[in-house]
Amino acid sequence: MLALSDAGILLGRTAADWRGAVLLAGEGLEAAGFAAAPYGQRMVGMVEEFGAYIVIAPGLALAHARPGPDVVTSGMSVVTLTEPVVFGHPYNDPVSVVLGLAVITADEHVAGIAELANVFNDSSAIGRLAAARSVADVRAVFDVPGVSSFRERH
């Protein structure tokens, strides 16, 4: 359900702060063809409006914004940071892996989200992503039983 493109996997990046990290996730979505440029700023806006709630597990942020005209097709991006950044979350800082999520409608993403939960219910998944050195390493993390639809796109 959630597409992941090689172009949207950005490994070993650096970001000055959480804004930079979220914008990298937007860059990945844009490079993959899933979202247009304004979407990255809209993801930043979610944190400005509501706080660091997108940091949903230790070391992991799930950047996203509401559906909008800047979403081309539903999909995700993966960013790993060489230096973890602080978002201001009371429990889960600092963040070394940022997932970018773009969805066309709130309803349609439910199956994809359930699959994402399957991947990260394995508590080693975030560490393995943070340590990924190649696109294949990243795909291996998402390639778990029950996750059949993280389809490849080129």
Partner: protein
Amino acid sequence: MKIVAICGAGVGTSGILKVNAERALARLDIEAEVSATDVASVAIAAADAQVILTSPEFVDRLGKTNADVIVVQNYFDVDELTAKLEAALG
């Protein structure tokens, strides 16, 4: 039994919370309807909810509620959700 998962957009994070809350409830053998919504709709969505699941950021935004508010640290940790739901509902 009604449980509402709250996040900023009603997209993404609250969906993960809903999926994993359902897994925790299955472990506890508790039947409940879990819905995911955004914080702007909380007054309506959670009016008759027994439990609200959310992030620390949203606690102050929930307003007056009779529901038990459960603050979730790790959205992917079904053990944490199970323990907190059991404490609230058990």
